[in-house]
């Protein structure tokens, strides 16, 4: 590669740490570089929880950047993630979002792969090129690590081990979102396309001031005590007590807001993992939001909801009706979030910078101390992004 082709587009970054150039949401030419340095770079991306593919042969299709991949539960009980492409001439092997297969057969020339990814059959191989050896044509496997049943992939050998990458301040609350021990059951998905650049989603879905939510005021729902923790590589965790009034007069059926409070939190945990994944546990809803940028504009978000293996029937039923009605693209307490994504996206077509204010103590320094309702918790992520993209900070 020539030097020029790796340099790519550039953007002069404001001097002040709390200012983000709005152009970063709008310049389409940033996308190929984001793919290279972030999605195919030294980051871990969650792809599947074991509960989504609990039986041998179960598979789930996904994307990493623009690359189609799939996770499959092998005959040996292991979960693996492969590129979704036949090692002969490249036909995709998985065409549905999920399902169960005994083996993976390519329809084009009938190469046959087992669930472990080995090439086990290829008709007429006597006539193949002299160097052909079946052993060298297994499916391309991605580097994989597991945490509480959740499987993450990375394209780079240099990415640090998963726990080191996430840091304890992130993986400890994540373990509680994942039921404490990862023994989850899938209860379903809500999938939606948001009309914004993926980074606008990151700024706003993870955590934002409760001001947005009229529902909170109407339900007389006061945010309890809480805190935020942020890592140098941009992962953000937020935790708070929930204080839900006993008597909710605005609703006929207040039971939808019950917090039956199993063990693992005092109300709310929301986490934003760089680059683009949100995890949450509000009340009794266990939720992973797998997010797939569709190029520079548009982000498909798959809200996956879980119950715990130890739930009794009542708890299971409660999680199902609470998750279905409170979160996601139609949810009582989250639909506003979605409306903000597209409004921010429209506003970003104007010149200048988006400026973070709340919690910024010094514009010229990055701070990792973030109070409960500060918006400055987004800034370490932006700094990490800026460095990954190689954008220089301006001198003045």
């Amino acid at each position: 590669m020539t030097k020029q082709s790796t340099e790519g587009p550039t953007l002069v970054w404001p001097k002040k740490y709390n200012e983000i150039p709005k152009a970063v949401f709008e310049m389409e030419e940033l996308w190929p570089k984001e793919l290279e340095t972030i999605f195919y770079g030294e980051e871990w991306h969650p792809i599947v929880h074991r509960a989504e593919i609990p039986n041998p042969g179960d598979y789930k299709a996904a994307e990493l950047g623009e690359m189609p991949i799939f996770a499959v539960h092998g005959e040996d009980g292991e979960i693996r993630v492969f590129q979704n492409t036949c090692t002969h001439r490249g036909t995709s092997l998985i065409t549905e979002s999920s399902g169960n297969k005994k083996e993976l057969e390519c329809p084009y020339h009938r190469w046959l792969f087992n669930l472990q990814g080995d090439l086990v059959g290829c008709p007429n191989s006597r006539d193949y090129a002299p160097g052909f050896d079946r052993k060298n044509f297994g499916l391309a496997k991605l580097r994989l690590e597991e945490f509480c049943g959740l499987f993450f992939v990375t394209m780079s050998d240099k990415t640090p081990p998963l726990k080191e990458y996430l840091g304890e301040s992130f993986y400890e609350p994540l373990s509680r979102i994942l039921g404490g021990d990862g023994r989850l059951k899938l209860i379903g998905y809500q999938k939606v396309m948001y009309d914004c650049n993926w980074k606008a989603y990151c700024d706003n879905d993870g955590y934002h001031a409760p001001l947005l939510h009229k529902a909170f005021a109407l339900l007389n729902w006061q945010g309890g005590k809480g805190f935020q923790k942020v890592t140098e590589n941009g992962h953000l965790s937020f935790e708070s007590e929930l204080k839900i009034p006993d008597d909710i007069t605005a609703l006929e059926d207040g039971s939808i807001l019950d917090f039956k409070g199993t063990e693992t939190s005092t109300g709310s945990i929301v986490q934003m993992q760089f680059p683009v994944t949100v995890y949450s546990k509000h009340m009794d809803m266990l939720n992973i939001r797998y997010a797939f940028p569709k190029g520079p504009k548009g982000l498909e978000v798959h809200y996956a909801y879980f119950s715990h293996e130890d739930d009794d029937e009542e708890m299971l039923a409660h999680r199902i009706r609470q998750s279905s009605n409170l979160l996601g693209p139609c949810g009582l307490i989250s639909m506003e979030d979605a409306s903000v994504f597209s409004r921010i996206d429209i506003g970003n077509k104007t010149p200048g910078n988006a400026i973070f204010q709340k919690g910024v103590e010094d514009e010229h320094k990055l701070s990792f101390t973030v109070k409960q309702n500060d918006e400055s918790g987004n800034l370490p992520r932006w700094e990490h992004y800026r460095k990954r993209m190689g954008f220089e900070r301006s001198e003045s």
Binding site: A250, L251, D253, I320
Partner: protein, 162 residues
């Protein structure tokens, strides 16, 4: 289908017409009036139905939830929604008597939306309604209406029932 009287079929068609007109006119009281006191409503993706996964986009499993759906649309989210005009197109595809006074019906639906701030018209979702309808004195009411979308990914957040 042959055993059902024309009156029954037209009562079902009328109920469906009231329902879609209420939504196209953003008349949530009219929407609620289509359900019986035992009524319930589900809006769910085909993928979850096929896999036996219960999570829905909207799961109003009792009359109080239906009332709260109205509150959510009319009071709670009124300022934050980017409002859109819906147009429902439906087609009765199956109707059978389940027991005396109760029929099961299936309608196909396609729903367009026009966003007020852009004037673009797009497809919101396409799928089918699976209904349980009770008939009393010539009047039909939904005991259950289940809207199942073929497309598993919604094209935007959805603020109103479909």
């Amino acid at each position: 289908m042959s055993k059902l009287s024309n009156d029954t079929v037209s009562a079902v068609e009328n109920l469906n017409r009231d329902y879609i007109c209420a939504l196209d006119n953003m008349d949530m009281t009219g929407w609620l009036a289509c359900f019986s006191q035992q009524g319930s409503y589900t809006f769910i993706a085909e993928e979850n139905v096929r896999r036996g996964l219960p999570i829905a986009f909207m799961l109003d499993d009792c009359y109080e939830r239906l009332q709260d759906r109205v509150t959510q649309v009319v009071d709670i989210q009124i300022d934050s929604t980017e409002h859109y005009q819906m147009r429902h197109f439906t087609q009765l595809t199956n109707i059978v008597e389940q027991e005396s006074g109760t029929v099961r019906a299936t309608f196909n639906f396609s729903i367009y939306y026009t966003q007020k701030d852009t004037n673009h018209t797009k497809i919101l979702c396409v799928g089918r309604y699976e209904d349980i309808i009770t008939l009393k004195g010539g009047k039909a009411e939904f005991k259950h209406r289940k809207a199942i979308t073929d497309s598993n990914v919604l094209p935007r957040y959805v603020a109103y029932p479909v």
